[in-house]
Every structure is written in structure tokens, then in C-alpha cells.
Symmetry: C2
Subunit: 327 residues, 2 copies
């Protein structure tokens, strides 16, 4: 019998998918107050060691996140963990991976994030605030607009999210260059280059999308020099991690007018401090680390966990299982 | 020798592409004041009958549109006309077609219009005004959003523009149904239906895009009954012609909250009258018949004319030549 740890909230949603495994699983439900339930009984992980775990999205806003993470850290018999996150930069994951725990990250947010990227670039290209102002003023006056058609996109990090952005941008007939650790041809891009070749391509892109994991290789990747090397009038979109960009240098390159616009969902410090010049910058559209919040994300995340649980129990390969190259 | 009629503005742009045909063409350039020039000489179409014609985009805002159209109407020897427009509902075109003139419409605006459609739906789905208001207020507060992923799109009229919308929407993993006069499988749609089957499908669509020509079949197509049959919460986008929709019925169905939103680039009367309730409707985004005004449209239009002129003079097939089914 395997012991599965998840939150009460997650359990309420996934219960129908767990029912077929009732002979194989003990389901340990962490309550909002940090206590653990097995059926009606309050239990502890000392009594029932955790073997499997679903780190679900509701945890982030719950009161028991510290207890949950603590239980995972101490679970010496943990064999598999499914996380709701795409990025694995939280130190927990590396520690678990090094202990031999099988880890699956999530691609459930990829459609939402990709739509956020396209929506934001189109919002800037088509100047919606101008359109709305003219409508409100009753002015029958057209506005010309930039097109994605024929534009060059450089997508730094070409995992689930980057590839989906590339696929959609190709639907618009953009030319897509993807940046990966190891350059090899992939669908959804016209060209894949390695990080080592970034400097040869960054000046050609109309749109640069940061979609990479935060690693020692990507921390500070877009520094002052590379920001200045970007194409004049380019748009930057960061849905990766704030630490990938030198934020102070970004503000300078926006102030100078060298870049047209930055769409930022992530920041070096979150929440973004109240005194940051980014809040009111006329060339910035910012959102509070929420590009994943499409209506379909929770359902896709639940299906991913449940499908992977089925696969784990049947001894089949898992979807989105990470390997050493992630860290 | 063929006599080609175009505007002076169009000539200035396309001159390098005409140079190779100098032995075959006399180029008649209509000036802003309505006079006609051949080289430095002022001429008339009585002296030099028009054989070929480019009806270019600059005409719409020029002072000589009446003279130009008049010259075309009277050109009894006209053999081919390339128009900048996608729609051929202006009576001029039917009259020319009936006289045996070969007509080519334009697909140059299709990328711009398709991007306008996607941008507008994403603008509504992702609630950009809310995002911007929170940013301006310094509020770190996420907004959930609808996704195109998994949504159903009904694209009424599946020509150059409709197909491009379908292709891009499929890139987002939307399910696309195209409506054509004759239903036969086509790329860029999961299903093609005929106008006769519209009523069986209109209630399933999250997004309905009007991209059809204005014909006797499509005039008043979206009447009060069909608007009411649309899916609750659906979004309507009209980049076809205002007359395809019953505008008064649309306002009622928006007032009732049955539809979530309408994106309107065309109207029964243009410019939209100042007293129309559409201007200030909270569920309408309107633009002044300008969804075609992407930065690439003029260049693509010029290339289309010049390529078709090359083809015409070489006796090769023309791109976008229309047949009787257009009228």
C-alpha cells in the first residue's frame, strides 16, 4: 500500500480519479490547519510515511504550506512527486531529485502562459488604449498597427511553454528561433540555437520571450550589454523568472526608448516593491506572476496528476518527468 | 501596347516593378486633381483607352476617386483590374465582371485582419483594462482569464481572411468550424459546413467571426433570431460588412448580457452616426473600418499587383482571380 499526500482541497477535486485505486492507496489529506487526515482519523507522517505526493496549486494560498513542505522534506520514503509548477528553482526540488525521488513538473499552465504572451504583444502592437480612447471620444479615426506576420521571435528556453509560444507565433507566420541548452532541430521553431549562440541572434528579434528555467546559466542572462544589443523597437516578454533580467538595466533601456516595451509577469522581488519605477513605467505592462491563470489551468493540472498517478501505479512512463539537465 | 491606369501615388511606389515592361505598357497616371498624365503630357482616356487598371488603396482618401471610378466605368476595352479591396460588393465590380473584365481581389490585408481578430478576442478574454488599472493603482492582484485553447470558433466566410483566422486559432488549439457556400474539407478548419447548416452550429461557438462577402445570401444573416441562438457568453467579431448583422438586434442582445462582447470594425452606416448607442456600449470594442491597417498591408498589396501584372503580361494564371460565385 502506497501513502499519497495531498491537500484536502486537491483531494475534493481529484477524489473520483482516486477511487479506482482504493486498494492500492492510503490517501493522507492535509487540512488548512496543517493536520493530516486518513479518512476521519488524524494521523502523522511518523505513523504513515509518505510515498507519493501531489503539490497542488491551492497550497500557494493555503495556511499549511510550511507544514506541507516540511512533511515532504522529511519523507525519506518519498518515491514520486507531481508538482503544479513548471519551474523547479525552489531548492526543495533539487534536494528531492538528489535523493532519487522521481519528479514531474507541470505543462498545465503552458496554454495559458502562451496566450498571455501573444495577447500582450498584440495589445502593444495594436495600441488598444488609443483605440478605446478614440471610441470613447466618438472619433472615427483609424490606427495603423505593427504585425506579428513576418516578425522575428527569439524564445529563450524552449520547453513546454516556449514551444507552445513558438507554435502559435508560427501560425501567425512569424519566424521563430528557439534557444535551448543543446541546439537540435525541433518542431515549433524555424531554428534552434544554443545559449552560447545567443549573442549572434539577439539583435535580430522583434520579440524576445524569456521562457527558461532559472539556473546558474540563466541568472542575469539579459544583462545591460545584451539588453542594449537587442533590436531597436523590440518588445521583451518575461514569463520566466525575474532574476533572468537585470531589472535596473531594463528600466534604463526602456527609459532611453531603445526598447519599445516590456511585458513583465515576474520580478527580482515579488510582490514588486511599491517604490519600484516599474509600476508606473509607460513602456511596461506588468502582471503579478499570474500569466498562468487561464481558466483551463486547474483542470489540466488535475488531469496531469491523475494520469501520472495511473501511470505510476501501472509502471508506465510518466509525463513531464525531469532529468538532471533541469538543474 | 497596353494602357495601364493607376494613381500617381501608386505609380511612385510601383515604378521599379513596371520598368521591365516599358516596351509593353503605356502608364497613365491619375493626378490628385483628376487629370491624367503619360510621361509629362496631359492625356485623356478618349485618346488612350484603358486596358489594365490598378485600383490602389490611396484612392480612398484621394480627391480624384470619382474621376478614377468614372474612367474605369467608361473603359470599354478594359481587360483586367486589380483591386486593393477584399470585398467586391461595390456595384462597379459586378458591372465590370458582367462585361467580361478579369478581376482580382486582394488578400494583402488578410494577415492584418486576422491579427486584429485574435488581438481583439484576447483583449477581451484577458481583461487588459483591469490589468492596467491594477498596475496604475500599484495593486499586486492577479486576474483570471478565459482561454482560446479548447474554445470553439465559427468562422462565417472561409476565404483568404477566414482561413487565416482559422489557421491561427488552430495554433492556439481552438476547434474551428468554417462556413462556406459549398461544404468541402479544407485546411485550417476542423469542419467546413454550408450556410444551410449554420443554425445547427451557431449555438456551439464561443467566438463567431464574420468574414464573408456581402451578398444577397449574407445580407442580414445574423438577425435577431440567430443572435439569440448564439452561445451565452459568446464573442462576436465582424470584419465583413455591417449589413451582415442586424445592428439594432445586436445592441439588444448585448444589453441583455446574452453575448459577452462584440468587436465591430464595420457598420450598416459608415462613419457610424454620432448618435448610435454602439459608440459607448460597454460590451463593444469598435474600430473605424480599419482592421486592415497593419504595417505590412500596403507592401503586400503592391507585390500582389506587380506579380499579377507580370503574370498577366506573360499569359500566366492570376492570383485571386474571382469567378461568378463571388457575386
Amino acid at each position: 500500500l502506497d501513502n499519497l499526500l495531498l491537500t484536502e482541497v486537491a483531494y475534493q477535486q481529484v477524489a473520483p480519479r482516486l477511487a479506482p485505486h482504493s486498494e492500492r492507496l492510503r490517501v493522507l489529506r492535509m487540512q488548512a490547519d496543517g493536520t493530516l487526515k486518513l479518512g476521519d482519523r488524524t494521523v502523522t507522517t511518523a505513523q504513515l510515511p509518505v510515498h507519493l505526493c501531489w503539490l497542488s496549486g491551492d497550497l500557494i494560498d493555503s495556511g499549511s504550506v510550511a507544514e506541507f513542505i516540511g512533511a515532504v522534506m522529511q519523507a525519506e520514503d518519498l518515491r514520486w512527486l507531481q508538482t503544479v509548477t513548471a519551474g523547479l528553482d525552489h531548492p526543495l526540488f533539487k534536494a528531492l531529485f538528489d535523493r532519487g525521488v522521481r519528479l514531474c513538473n507541470s505543462d498545465a499552465q503552458a496554454p495559458a502562459i502562451a496566450e498571455y504572451v501573444l495577447a500582450s504583444v498584440l495589445y502593444r502592437y495594436q495600441q488598444f488604449p488609443d483605440r478605446v480612447a478614440r471610441q470613447q471620444a466618438g472619433q472615427w479615426q483609424p490606427n495603423d498597427f505593427r504585425e506579428i506576420y513576418g516578425s522575428h521571435w527569439l524564445i529563450i528556453g524552449f520547453g513546454n511553454i516556449g514551444r507552445r509560444v513558438g507554435r502559435i507565433a508560427q501560425g501567425f507566420e512569424a519566424r521563430v528561433t528557439g534557444v535551448k541548452r543543446i541546439a537540435k532541430p525541433l518542431p515549433d521553431a524555424d531554428l534552434i540555437i544554443s545559449f552560447a549562440d545567443l549573442d549572434g541572434h539577439i539583435g535580430a528579434a522583434d520579440v524576445v520571450v524569456l521562457a527558461c528555467a532559472l539556473t546558474e546559466e540563466t541568472r542575469g542572462l539579459l544583462d545591460a550589454r545584451r539588453l542594449q544589443a537587442m533590436k531597436p523597437g523590440a518588445v521583451l516578454v518575461n514569463i520566466a523568472r525575474g532574476e533572468v533580467v537585470d531589472e535596473a538595466a531594463l528600466v534604463r533601456v526602456l527609459d532611453s526608448g531603445h526598447l519599445d516595451y516590456a511585458v513583465l509577469d515576474v520580478f527580482q522581488q515579488e510582490p514588486l516593491p511599491a517604490d519600484s519605477p516599474i509600476w508606473q513605467h509607460p513602456r511596461v505592462l506588468l502582471t503579478p506572476h499570474s500569466s498562468n491563470r487561464g481558466a483551463g489551468t486547474p483542470g489540466r493540472g488535475l488531469a496531469l496528476f491523475a494520469d501520472n498517478l495511473d501511470a505510476y501505479l501501472a509502471g508506465r512512463p510518466l509525463r513531464n518527468e525531469v532529468d538532471a539537465t533541469f538543474f
